[in-house]
Symmetry: C2
Subunit: 216 residues, 2 copies
Amino acid sequence: MRKELKISSAVIRRLPKYYRYLGLIMKTGTVRVSSQELSEITGFTASQIRQDLNHFGGFGQQGYGYNVKELRAELKEIIGLNLKYKVCIIGVGNIGKAIFNYYNTSDSSLDIVACFDADLEKSSSEVGKITKDIGELDDFLKHNEIDIAVLATPVSVAQEIANKVVDNGVKAIWNFAPIDLKLPDKIVLEDVHLDESLSTLIYYLGNIKDYKGNRQ
Amino acid sequence: MRKELKISSAVIRRLPKYYRYLGLIMKTGTVRVSSQELSEITGFTASQIRQDLNHFGGFGQQGYGYNVKELRAELKEIIGLNLKYKVCIIGVGNIGKAIFNYYNTSDSSLDIVACFDADLEKSSSEVGKITKDIGELDDFLKHNEIDIAVLATPVSVAQEIANKVVDNGVKAIWNFAPIDLKLPDKIVLEDVHLDESLSTLIYYLGNIKDYKGNRQ
């Protein structure tokens, strides 16, 4: 049923939201949910929800709604959260450590196999156990297939390390360094730019006239 | 010179990027930069850069470019990074701690005056010094003017705490909890949804056909 048309990034970014809301709905014991009910919970319109889901095949029945558990399982698979990804975290400062502690759980989609830092002293106990010297990164990547590199280094070395990671076959970078990395087109890059998010918040705080409200 | 037209969020989100790039350019000792040169560095088109900056007044001279230091100072003021903001961090788990350690510096725009957590044992030494019991939050907010609340609590209590924060006059929430908060329209909300960012990356890793590349 999966169509081969290019799906827009706006649709793709809504999928994890639907997945999250369905998890909440499932916890309440609800078995079926209509797109209208989903609309009330998520704030997206019912027609947008139906359109979004239709990109990935025919879920739900007209006038009968979606089976919550089934739709959630489908979304999990569509996003790819049913699989495990081999991950290394490069840079184990505050951000790197936070990511490690947050995602180093048995039900996470991330299998964090190694961390790297220039300063091994910096690593706290738990992270420290799997933290290697940054000098070993190249050799490690040559001998281990890594799906995702989490980049949480200082900005001064971020591009150089990103190049090394890509040269060794890593296909995706989750970047926390405040830099717009230049990478080959088929390398998936997802940025979390904390400074830009904070700057945007600060701008609106001083210019509430430009703020369009916080609802979807 | 400041116009009173509503400025789009796309423009506003580019400002911190320009500001960051100008900082890098300044470090190289460059005095003047043309929109064409800025385009090559930032990846945005020269006409977009000129248009964006024109929203905020007339910088630069035709054929002569922008004074790097002046433009950066102007942008700093336009964004509001020339001011200090009183901040409390609510939830001092890994994310809260990371934010504290990252922004608790003398040159930061954030003046982190207090942290709150339900579990004081959890707080590490540095954060611990200014961490109070979450039960004291209400009273604290009534007696201290806070500009920005950083919300890094578990999702189960996030909405309730957000309500409390807003009821006590805080005008902006930087939210790291995986929830779409429902807030009054004039409260500035900026989300950092790590799970959604990671899910998007994972989706593209498995569906590179939908990926439009990582260049601006």
